[in-house]
């Protein structure tokens, strides 16, 4: 049997269980409307309002971009690692060039201080 069918069965089962567990409070819990309760919690102070359009440090964005660069590198390494023995020294050389380019990239972002968090 195709193992992906088994995976699909697993998915369906887990989705049902997770759904029931998420909805348990909605099904079983009390429902009492209360003005104070429906407000967000800001350690007891009156809430400052919505966060839509709020500004936050650009560092998080930079981290995400760097992640895309280096994680794609790792993703490319997986198929290479699986067939590594068949590729031999030639495959190692090619991957070494690829990794070297990205290592230079890492050295660069390190040097310009993109990895510094202050």
């Amino acid at each position: 049997m195709n193992p992906y069918i088994a995976l699909l069965i697993s998915f369906a089962l887990c989705a049902i269980v997770a759904g029931i567990m998420c909805g348990a409070s909605w099904l079983l819990g009390p429902k009492v409307e209360n003005k104070a309760k429906s407000e967000i919690f800001e350690t007891g102070n009156p809430p400052l309002g919505s966060i839509r359009g709020i500004r936050f440090p650009v560092k998080f964005y930079l981290t995400a971009i760097l992640f895309v660069v280096f994680d794609i590198e790792v993703v490319f390494m997986y198929p290479w690692a699986v067939v590594f023995r068949r590729l031999g020294w030639m495959g190692l050389g090619e991957m070494a060039v690829f990794v070297a380019v990205l290592a230079v990239g890492l050295a660069y972002v390190w040097r310009v201080g993109a990895l510094e968090w202050d």
């Binding site: 049997m1 193992p3 992906y4 069918i5 088994a6 995976l7 069965i9 697993s10 998915f11 089962l13 887990c14 989705a15 269980v17 997770a18 759904g19 567990m21 998420c22 348990a24 409070s25 909605w26 819990g29 429902k31 309760k37 429906s38 407000e39 967000i40 919690f41 800001e42 400052l48 919505s50 966060i51 839509r52 709020i54 936050f56 560092k59 998080f60 981290t63 995400a64 760097l66 992640f67 280096f70 994680d71 790792v74 993703v75 390494m77 997986y78 690692a81 699986v82 590594f84 023995r85 020294w89 190692l92 070494a96 990794v99 290592a103 890492l106 390190w110 990895l115 968090w117 202050d118």
Partner: protein
């Protein structure tokens, strides 16, 4: 019949995971009490003292989940209702499914039917695990965004940056492991580790990839967002971080996802580095000790021994993570980022290169 078997296996994998998380919740509460030299949770009763006796040990095993499921489900009035519902679901579903590809035993032979003790025997197991674990970041981000609260938002943003940073370290550590075994199939990796080095030492991954084990373990703890890496939910700064605005069972889903991640990291450490379900010297027909001693064991007993061995190892590594959680103080955010980007990433990269050269240079020496 095949469908029924895979359904039962999927159910078994899910039940192992659910039981383990509930057990871990109890171990965490009692274990932390042990570490901090106090008694910890020790009493429970049903329906406000209906029972004449104290349920004691049952406390967190049953009372905690039951209580959380009976609490009111509060959604703040400015929140995005759909995303508020979606976040806990997305946080747990991929983690539940991850366990489907983890082998918890070799094969179970009933009559002439050979059942592989793994819910889904896919040949890209390791890739599947990495993909599913990385989906966990969506639960954090969506949860933080949907609540429309400052604390939740900060927790969500911190969580996303932390989880993606450590994913790279985790991925690189595992590349070195894949290089050693030459396959992504977790069952295959576990079988490879049944061989012996020089006829004495079990060929477990820890002897081939000790550095990858350390890197993976650190990155795994960081991925599970538990102390010392609990910046996204740092209680003293952000109330409860990305799940500040959650209550009842939805909040318990987020707490549960932490424990499931602990279980998954433990399961992967066991499978990749400590032989999975392997018992040293135990083959399908019995114990083959070095020096030619042989003790025959029936097939069913072998299977049971292997499953027990897997569960014991799994539990040891869960406990190790709980020890870490109660031993180290929380890191600062810049320290966290430094560790991820300036330590794990270069060391992981160097480990991959060294492993690749060694594998080729010592072709006859490695497992293959």
């Amino acid at each position: 019949m095949d469908l029924l078997i895979s359904f039962v296996l999927a159910l078994v994998a899910l039940l192992i995971l659910l039981q383990l998380t509930v057990l871990l919740l109890w171990v965490e509460r009692k274990g932390s009490a042990l570490i901090q030299d106090r008694v910890g949770a020790n009493r429970a009763n049903l329906f406000g003292g209906l029972l004449p006796f104290n349920l004691g040990i049952v406390n967190t095993l049953m009372a905690d989940p039951l209580k959380l499921f009976h609490k009111e489900d509060v959604i703040p009035k400015d929140a995005d209702k759909f995303l508020h519902w979606l976040a806990p679901f997305i946080a747990v579903l991929p983690l539940f499914v991850t366990f489907a590809v983890v082998p918890f035993g070799d094969v179970l032979v009933i009559g002439d039917r050979v059942i592989n003790l793994q819910a889904a025997n896919v040949n890209v197991g390791l890739l599947f695990v990495l993909g599913m674990v990385s989906l966990g970041v969506y639960g954090v981000v969506i949860g933080g965004w949907a609540s429309n609260s400052r604390y939740a938002f900060l927790g969500g943003v911190r969580g996303s940056a932390q989880m993606i940073s450590y994913e790279i370290g985790m991925g690189l550590a595992l590349v070195a492991v894949v290089l050693t075994y030459g396959t992504l199939d977790l069952q295959q990796i576990a079988r490879e580790q049944g061989k012996l080095m020089w006829g004495v030492i079990p060929a477990w991954g820890v002897f081939y990839q000790p550095l990858a084990l350390v890197l993976f373990f650190i990155a795994g703890i960081a991925e599970s967002k538990r102390p010392p890496f609990d910046l996204p939910e740092a209680e003293s700064e952000l109330v409860a971080g990305f799940y500040t605005e959650y209550s009842g069972s939805k909040q318990s889903m987020f707490m549960m996802s932490d424990f499931i991640e602990v279980a998954i990291v433990a399961a992967l450490v066991t499978t990749l580095f400590f032989g999975g379900w392997q018992v040293p010297y135990l083959q399908r027909d019995g114990f083959h000790f070095p020096g030619g001693f042989f003790v025959g064991v029936p097939s069913l007993v072998v299977t049971i021994l292997q499953v027990v061995s897997f569960l014991v190892k799994l539990f040891i590594f869960c406990w190790l993570q709980i020890l870490v959680r109660w031993t180290y103080p929380r890191m600062r955010y810049d320290q966290l980022m430094n560790l991820g980007w300036k330590r794990l990433l270069p060391i992981g990269l160097a480990n991959v290169v060294v492993t690749a050269v060694l594998v080729l240079a010592l072709e006859g020496f490695t497992i293959k």
